[in-house]
Amino acid sequence: MLSPDIIRRSAAAQAAALHAGETSSEELTRAHLDRIAAVDDDLNAFLHVSEEEALTAARDVDARRAAGEELHALAGVPIAVKDVVVTKGQPTTAGSKILEGWVPPYDATLVEKLRAAGLPILGKTNMDEFAMGSSTETSAYGPTRNPWDPDRIPGGSGGGSAAAVGAYEAPLAIGTDTGGSIRQPGAVTGTVGVKPTYGSVSRYGLIAMASSLDQAGPVTRTVEDSALLHELIAGHDARDSTSLPDPVGAYAEAARRRDVKGLRIGVIEELEGEGFAPEVRARFTESLDQLERAGAEIVRVSCPNFEYALGAYYLIMPSEASSNLAKFDGMRFGLRVIPEDHPTAENVMKATRGAGFGDEVKRRILLGTYALSAGYYDAYYGSAQKVRTLVQRDFAAAFEQVDVLASPTAPTVAFRLGEKIDDPTAMYMNDIATIPANLAGTPGISLPSGLAEDGLPAGIQFLAPARADERLYQVGGALEALLEDAWGGPLLAKAPELAGGAAR
């Protein structure tokens, strides 16, 4: 008999249970599908659940295991995939009306890897439309709610993946991070999220927002799970010109090392000031204290150009997005809206895009169109690319002094639904700490630092040099162990039970 708490275990523990024959992938997958059925009407973390496909994949893994086949360590452990990642045969909408009902004829490279490793795909998770947002409120299919408080946002753009993992609907999920869309949802839902080094995970099959910033990564409940998933989805892909040729690092080993003696951790002065809520700062400081007691060295570093990072990001991202989203025109796939007057191709494109895109997408396309238009390119896009160089130089200087950098992941705990949706500038401030890593291509992890304002989770972020993702798992795994010792268990155990929650 399957223990009802199995879905609360880490993915690594679920994998161990499968390996030990304690349960089957079919049982495990069904348990998660049951959980989704029980809680997702309220949460809205999933846009699409592919029950039959997941169970078929699970049975296949079970059969292969029974036949004594050598399987991937995570084989049989189910996973949820952010709806910005294309899945052959499963609808993919990127949270937009313009793609409603579109079923891609191909798989993203990372999805191919998931399938090849035998991870049943439970479904597609909710997100801000085209990953544009920090609250999952811009989804055309309604917001996802935070498992800690249904009136609060789960972060964004990957709120669905974070909420799904936080609410035990899935042990693992895929996110994408263009300016913080993996890390910030992790922080406000008490889960773990990693943005790998740019190019570590193939972008082939990710519906692009900003090509030079987008990176897919793991969304999990533990640092080790993130490491295991990162190892699975990483690696060179000849279909992505920006894919790194490097071998995949030993991330899980680093996550289990739990040793920070002599590790130099730099606190970024520019990212701990007044913009950050007091209790969020307090949990951050306490986390650093734990690490210091465990033998790490805490250093203050300055990254003066981070001040300009948000500006550069809100020029580069909309510019690239305005171009990447031009293909959604009602000609080849997705929505087509035919206006009554003069339904020419041009007018159909306009009507389709006018009706199919939400406010935030329109806003960013227009801003990007403006920033790239004749006469403004140098002042906006050109200048932003220079700031990118300056941000990289700040990182390079900082990493001469320290091994990793640290900051709170997000300025505040989860805010209320609707609180910032009409104030784009305020919404954009959520990404202040996460954006520099996207500009520089460096990796970052967010993990829970404790409960802050209103008893809601806060996150701490570590950043490492490009291609040194192992350091994130090393420091993250160590801090997680230290904090869980202090808390007497994972932070998520403190989350309120969800109505209809079958498991305890």
Binding site: R239, A326, Y377
Partner: protein
């Protein structure tokens, strides 16, 4: 009075009063196995929307990866045109919305082309050489193909909707842009066509493209402007798009010079615009004015990384460049022993490759020239096609000549066989065999025909026997008629002389 009412000026008068300046953009589709940015096959004819991957269809999530072979071909072209090859260059997105463009941007090169600052010498029909300066050669991708439906003529005007096939989308192109070409005067039309023909020949020699004009492998955009005299600043230009044959290029330039001269004479301004050439009328018409301020919002393609061809690679490509057309012409002239005039005629007729291949297939240079410049050139002219578009291969011509040389058929029959080959009846030897056209050299058949002729023409026989040997022709005629032209005339002559005892 509107500008369309203005009568074009006679070409020679226009040249008297104005100095034309040309600018030509040539697009060549590269003959790689796959497309510019994805592994879809680069093929001309296929079922619609089958030669595509998610990338060439621009599906969400798809990404481009540069075809290394296309870069090599672009470098080859750059080197053949005496260009510098960029140490580093990038792709950029040229953004505009159009249904044949899968991503609503074209991945092209903008301010960093792979090749720049070159030149090419163009030889005109009379042997004069014009040096054309090359501004740049850059890599880009082709668009899909729209078919307009519902209009009376299949043209865009009047169509109710369009159908799009993306098989061509993403096919690699190199665009070659000239600097302004001055000082061509009345030869401007000829220079324009000769330039494009020169490039076409270079593409073929480099083996980077089949370069077939009729398939749109090579397309020219022709810019023309007029100024009052060669020292004046450049006038406003028009750009006539996608002119797809040498003859059309000549006609376009000629027409635009006359048209613009008419406008200038009437005190009108030339509108900077895109124009279209019409094969039926020989004229051009206004397309889209550039006044709607096309803002292409170019920016570096973030899905691709810079192309930085190492100097070693460039030199390797340079060393492996094949013989270029100008050098080859000089060589062949020596090998074939043609006169300069004969050689120029061959080149102007576009028959150089055909003759070379015919020689390679075993024919003598003079016989190959005789066929291509004679009978076949005449047929091409009658049918209004380029000579290379005739449905006969050099190997077939050589085979035909072989039959003549081997006395299997005579010249008259050979022309008949040629006609049958052109009509698709098969290879010459097979046609001769199947239709029994071989020369009759069977003495028993010929002897009876000779006997009959001698019996029928006693007066002629008397003349021959009286010493007028040239009267033999009067006997051969009826014999040839009796054998439907297939008699071996030489053998017939021998038999007659033998029978009549003359020598």
């Amino acid at each position: 009075m509107t500008t369309t009412d203005i009568t074009p000026v006679d070409f020679d008068e226009a040249i008297d009063r104005y100095d034309p300046v040309l600018g030509i953009e040539v697009h060549v589709e590269l003959g790689t196995a796959t497309k510019m940015f994805d592994g879809a096959p680069n093929i001309f004819a296929a079922e619609p929307n089958t030669a595509i991957t998610p990338t060439s269809l621009g599906l969400p999530g798809s990404l481009p990866v540069v075809n290394g072979k296309a870069v090599e071909y672009a470098i080859r072209i750059g080197l053949a045109l005496n260009c510098s090859i960029a140490e580093t260059c990038r792709f950029a997105r040229k953004q505009y919305f159009y249904p044949d463009l899968t991503k609503n941007f074209q991945t092209s090169q903008y301010d960093e082309p792979i090749a720049f600052d070159g030149w090419v010498d163009v030889e005109l029909e009379d042997g004069e050489i014009v040096r054309v300066e090359i501004e740049r050669a850059h890599m880009e991708e082709d668009a899909g193909k729209n078919t307009h439906v519902g209009g009376a003529t299949g043209r865009i005007h009047g169509a109710t909707h369009s159908q799009v096939d993306y098989n061509r989308a993403g096919v690699p192109l190199v665009e070659i842009v000239t600097k302004p070409i001055p000082d061509t005067k009345g030869r401007a039309p000829e220079v324009a066509a000769a330039y494009v023909r020169t490039l076409r020949d270079i593409f073929r020699a480099l083996d980077v493209s089949e370069a077939r004009m009729e398939r749109g492998n090579v397309r020219a955009d022709v810019n023309v402007s007029l100024r009052t005299d060669p020292s004046a600043p450049l006038g406003t230009r028009t750009e006539t798009k996608n002119v797809n044959s040498f003859r059309s290029i000549e006609r376009t330039v000629r027409f635009e010079i006359s048209r613009q001269a008419g406008l200038l004479d009437a005190g009108e301004q030339i509108v900077q615009e895109t124009r279209h050439f019409h094969e039926d009328t020989g004229g051009t018409s206004s397309g889209r004015p550039k006044s709607d301020a096309e803002d292409y919002r170019y920016f570096p393609e973030p899905d691709l990384v810079p192309v930085a061809p190492s100097r070693a690679w460039v030199e390797e490509i340079r060393a492996a460049l094949p013989e270029l057309p100008a050098a080859r012409r000089r060589r062949l002239l020596g090998e074939w022993g043609f006169s300069d005039l004969e050689m120029r005629d061959v080149i102007n007729a576009g028959a150089l490759d055909l003759i070379e291949q015919t020689v390679a297939a075993g024919a003598s240079a003079q016989s190959a020239r005789k066929w291509w410049m004679g009978e076949l050139a005449r047929v091409a002219k009658d049918r209004e096609v380029e000579i290379e578009a005739l449905s006969i291969t050099p190997a077939q011509v050589a085979e035909l000549q072989g039959l003549v040389d081997g006395k299997k058929i005579n010249d008259k029959i050979a022309k008949q066989v040629l006609g049958k080959v052109l009509d698709g009846a098969g290879d010459p030897a097979a046609i001769v065999e199947a239709e029994g056209l071989a020369v009759v050299s069977d003495d028993s058949v010929l002897t009876s025909a000779v006997d009959q002729a001698i019996a029928d023409n006693p007066d002629v026989v008397a003349k021959i026997q009286g010493g007028k040997v040239q009267a033999i022709g009067a006997l051969i005629g009826p014999i040839m008629k009796a054998t439907r032209g297939q008699a071996d005339a030489g053998r017939v002559r021998e038999i007659i002389m033998d029978k009549l005892g003359v020598s």
